[in-house]
């Protein structure tokens, strides 16, 4: 190998050495920083932010130290410098090597012995590497001998690693409540990530979250109290832990470990129901004709996400005393995301509306809350009315009463309920009791049957009786009824079709067919009830009810005009009533502000305690804060500020916060700049 080639080899060796040296110094700086910080952390816990900063500084230091070292040794890249370096070590060259490099004329170094160049370069590189390697190794060794977790806290700082921090000394009498972390796993439907809080004092978590508080050490003897409930800690490896669920009410957890105590306040975050705004139609409207399409548009937003949204409508038809309703859903969506826009159109034609009908429409959205049930948000309701032809007529007609046929359903449903109840009690009743009660129902059923019979009889041409009978049926009546029953049988056996006028029947008979069948069914029911068999009577009773409902399908319209103005002559009516009332007793009401008042007393006691035992006062403030969180958020916030200020030793700030809390809860004092003439201070 000629001299120039050998020179280049030496350059490479020196360059590698310089690079390694830079790296070693960089690592040394980083390891030293980590080791120092870890030692400080052992003595005094460093906050998460500080450790993040240390990590960043360590990385930056490593890079900058390494880079600066490399930069310092950049001369190794120059052949001339390397040549000079060799010349310094081998004066026998007498600058021939440098001249050859500068002139490019290798003849100057032809025949020069180069066997010693490489070893010199290697030795030199090795020596340069020695010091940084020693530093790095020493720092690394310190990191290795540090307690477990100490290095991880520096190199991989994250929330919740405070219990990985080793304790110095490890006294068994020390509190196991420090260090402590709280892990919060929100309900799955929220899509929120689990979080950890180091040394928690206040934890905010969504309702339904799983909250686990854990610390280092044996679980035995560690108890958490929440109000009247208490939970003992369980062991998980080398840690103790207590798990609970976050409810809708704020609560304070009192953790006790022998004589040590810590309080953690848990503040629930309530999942709000979706907020829905109906933007179209923008207002209520009246349509002249039941035609067209009405565009519908709405917006729904939720704190965690809307899972379903739609428009709901209710159609009300009829007037006076008779109405029919039908409802439906249109434009259903199953969106994802916290905000959704809905749009659809309501086809008036498809609803088959008539004059006077009313449509109520609103937008509804649901969230995914599977903890306390889906939150349902609804928008305002818009009303769309179809104008009546006589919309602007003013005809004052009193409302007519219901037709006679309607009254035939008196108590049929009640009788069914009574019979069902009797049948249910049957196993526990004596036979004679059962028969007695069954016969009482039978008696009522008979009355009803007679009424239906009267109606049908009247319509079939007989004289109306118009009255219910009590007691036994008269022979005359019975005969008439039997005849009617025969007709009912023949009529009902002919056809089971709904009311129709085809087939040559008179309208009267056609209308009464269901009633006749009902009459028949009631007869059968009475028979069963008479022998104490309510269970066997029930199918007949239900059939009777069904048929009566069917008979009600006759259309009736009652005209309703403007309400009449009636002015009562109060003095003429005064005390004209026949009956006298009697004295009565009023119930006392409870105090409305009693919660606020008791909080005020507690607050006063806590302020009194501040001078004597600040730590207990801070704990009491936290508990009071939790209690007040739902009703008095401003007061709770002021208490939180006061507790924080006291913890940080800022007496002035604490006083201001306490004064603010006091005014928020108790109100500002009332002052007059002169002595009051009376003890009121208006």
């Amino acid at each position: 190998m000629n001299a120039m080639t050998q020179l280049r080899v030496v350059r490479v060796i020196l360059a590698i050495g310089a690079l390694l040296r830079g790296i070693a110094w960089g690592l040394g700086a980083a390891f030293t920083l980590f080791a120092g910080a870890a030692l400080i952390d052992l003595a005094t816990p460093l906050s998460l932010d500080t450790r993040h900063l240390i990590l960043a500084v360590a990385v930056v230091s490593a890079v900058s130290v390494g880079a600066s070292m490399c930069w310092r040794d950049r001369g190794v890249l120059s052949l001339e410098r390397v040549a000079m370096w060799i010349e310094e070590r081998l004066p026998s060259l007498e600058y021939t090597l440098v001249t050859a490099v500068e002139t490019g004329n290798v003849s100057y170094v032809a025949g020069v012995k180069t066997d010693r160049w490489r070893p010199i370069a290697i030795r030199r590189s090795g020596r340069a590497l020695r010091t940084p390697l020693v530093v790095s190794v020493a720092a690394f060794a310190i990191l290795l001998i540090l307690p477990g977790g100490a290095v991880a806290r520096m190199t991989l700082p994250h929330a919740g690693d405070s219990i990985e921090r080793a304790s110095v000394g490890g006294r068994s009498t020390a509190s196991r409540l420090t260090p402590m972390i709280a892990d919060v796993v929100p309900p799955r439907y929220t899509g929120e990530k689990p979080t950890s809080v180091d040394e928690p004092r206040d934890v905010r978590a969504i309702v339904g979250s799983a909250l686990t508080i854990s610390g280092r050490g044996d679980a035995k003897g560690i108890v958490a109290r929440m109000g009247k409930d208490s939970v003992a800690a369980t062991q998980r490896g080398d840690r103790w832990s207590i798990a609970m669920s976050v409810s809708t009410k704020a609560f304070a957890i009192r953790l006790t470990d022998r004589s040590f105590e810590r309080i953690v306040a848990v503040e629930p975050v309530i999942d709000a129901s979706p907020s829905v705004v109906l933007s179209a139609p923008a207002h209520d409207s009246v349509l002249r004709t039941p035609k067209g399409r009405i565009p519908l548009a709405a917006n729904a937003t939720d704190d965690f996400g809307v899972v379903s949204a739609s428009f709901e409508y209710i159609v009300s038809s009829g007037e006076g005393e008779t109405f029919k309703f039908k409802s439906g859903v249109i434009g259903s969506q199953k969106p994802t995301g916290k905000s959704v826009s809905l749009s659809s159109a309501l086809s008036i034609d498809s609803l088959e509306l008539k004059a006077g009908d009313i449509v109520h429409v609103r937008a509804v959205a649901r969230d995914a809350n599977d903890v306390s049930g889906p939150g349902i948000g609804v928008s305002e309701t818009r009303t769309i009315r179809i104008a009546r032809a006589d919309e602007y007529d003013s005809v004052a007609v009193d409302a007519a009463g219901p037709a006679d046929a309607e009254k035939s359903v008196i108590s049929e449903r009640m009788l069914i309920i009574l019979a069902e109840a009797l049948e249910k009690r049957r196993p526990s009743l004596r036979r004679d009791t059962l028969v007695g009660e069954s016969r009482r129902i039978a008696s009522d059923q008979k009355k009803l049957r007679r009424t239906v019979g009267d109606v049908v009889f009247t319509r079939l041409g007989g004289d109306p009786s118009g009255e219910e009978h009590t007691g036994e049926e008269s022979p005359t009546r019975a005969k008439t009824m039997e005849e009617m029953l025969a007709r009912a049988d023949s009529a009902t056996n002919q056809s089971s079709d709904p009311i129709d006028f085809e087939g040559g029947e008179s309208p009267v008979v056609a209308v009464n067919k269901p009633l006749l069948e009902a009459y028949n069914a009631m007869w059968s029911a009475s028979t069963e009830l008479e022998i104490g068999e309510p269970g066997r009577a029930l199918p007949h009773m239900r059939r009777a009810l069904e048929l009566i409902e069917k008979a009600r399908k006759a259309e009736r319209i009652y005209l309703r005009g403007a309400p009449p103005a009636v002015v009562i002559d109060v003095s003429r009516a005064r005390l004209k009533g026949k009956d006298k009332g009697s004295a009565s007793t009023r119930r006392a009401l409870s105090a409305a502000d009693s919660a606020a008042h008791s909080r005020l007393i507690r607050f006063a006691n806590i302020v009194d305690l501040v001078q004597r035992d600040q730590k207990s006062a801070i704990d009491s403030l936290l508990v009071l804060r939790i209690d007040a969180l739902a009703d008095e958020p401003s007061f709770a916030s002021a208490l939180s500020d006061a507790a924080d200020a006291m913890r940080r030793g800022r007496a002035n700030e604490a006083s201001i916060a306490l004064a603010r809390a006091r005014r928020t809860l108790a109100g500002a004092p009332v002052a007059r700049d002169s002595l009051a003439r009376w003890s009121i201070v208006p």
């Binding site: 005390l575 006298k580 009332g581 009697s582 004295a583 009565s584 007793t585 009023r586 119930r587 006392a588 009401l589 409870s590 105090a591 409305a592 502000d593 009693s594 008042h597 005020l600 007393i601 607050f603 006063a604 302020v607 009194d608 001078q611 006083s655 306490l658 004064a659 006091r662 108790a666 109100g667 500002a668 004092p669 009332v670 002052a671 007059r672 700049d673 002169s674 002595l675 009051a676 003439r677 009376w678 003890s679 009121i680 201070v681 208006p682």
Partner: protein
Amino acid sequence: MPSLRSRLEMWCRVAAFGVLGWLLGGSFFTSSNRRIERANTQNVAAHLESWTRAPSTTTLHLDLTAVPETWVVDWLAALRHSNHLVNWSGSPPAVALVTEPVSDPEGGVRIDIAAPTGADVVVRDEGSLIDSARISALGATMLTPIAIGNVTATVGSQRVGATPIDSARLKSVVVIGDAGWEGKFIASALEERGWAVTPHFSVAPNVDVTQGAPLIIDTARVSAVIAIDTSIRSHAAELERFVRSGGGLILAGPSAQSLRALAPGSVGARTRPTVHPADTMRLGTTGFYPVMSLNSGGVPLDRRSDGVVLAARRVGAGRVLQVGYDDSWRWRMAGAPGSERAHREWWSRLVASVAYVPPAAPNSNEGGTAAPLAHMVDRLGPAQAAVNLSGERPPVDRRLLLALILTLLIVEWGSRRLRGLK
């Protein structure tokens, strides 16, 4: 002829011996004149110990800008009793503080401060600052919902304090009248505030709505009675006995017409201002019964543009309040946000102002801190002139005299030595 210098030396020696003779003579012969020790507000406490050891011939004088603390005054009073002459001069502010529990179920403390007009007073308790005021007429009154620990008032450098006593023991409030919204909401408001209420509403002849025990109006059971209309006349005699024995009576609306002997004034025709649909209901928006011609002892407390709406009067040991409003319920139901609570507080305060409360035992130790100037005058006597108190010279410090003797001798000796003499 002795030179001027030698004369000077001689006089120095004479003067030195003269002062020495005076010192010696003073220690043998007690002057009939008293020695005066002085102190001021800031340093009097520091002097007390030394003054206690001083001979009783010493006059102890205080120059005061503020009254010292009670214990200092008491100490000085004790010195006075041991034949020290103790006197003081200066103009410490005359400040006094009284606290009284408000007769309200929710408690509260009324603080009355007497102080010179124009003074700034700051009131605080052990929790925080309560309020401050500039005195416009001899004092100030404050009402605070709660007082934490002792209450103190500061006027300049003068501090006064008092310990509020426990809340008043309250009995029930009777509300009497025809069934109607006003009676209902007055009873509701007071009950919501924590009062025990005994309503007695007439609905029909011999048909009443009542609550609790049969109606007996006396101070053993009842703190106050509220009459909401003229139906109160049937209880006139009973009410007069009740009020004269200390009970409180509130005559609301037109009810004062039925109890003229007790009412603070006569009842005028009800005012009926126009109320627009958009008007927010406030107290008196729909009008009131004004208090006309006040009876003897009647005091107007609140005036509106249409007349006096609130007046009070003491009758025997009790108090009667005449309130012109007969539909304060509208304020509660249809008022601005917070009106429900305001209505409740307003009615409670009215009742508190007249309610009969059994007197509580006064705090006998409080005199010194609550009215310090009065306390000091009581113990040490009134102020005296500040300077040149007759027959008494301020004592001369003996160390000064010794220093003077030495100086004179040194001057004499020095002069002689400079002249070459011994």
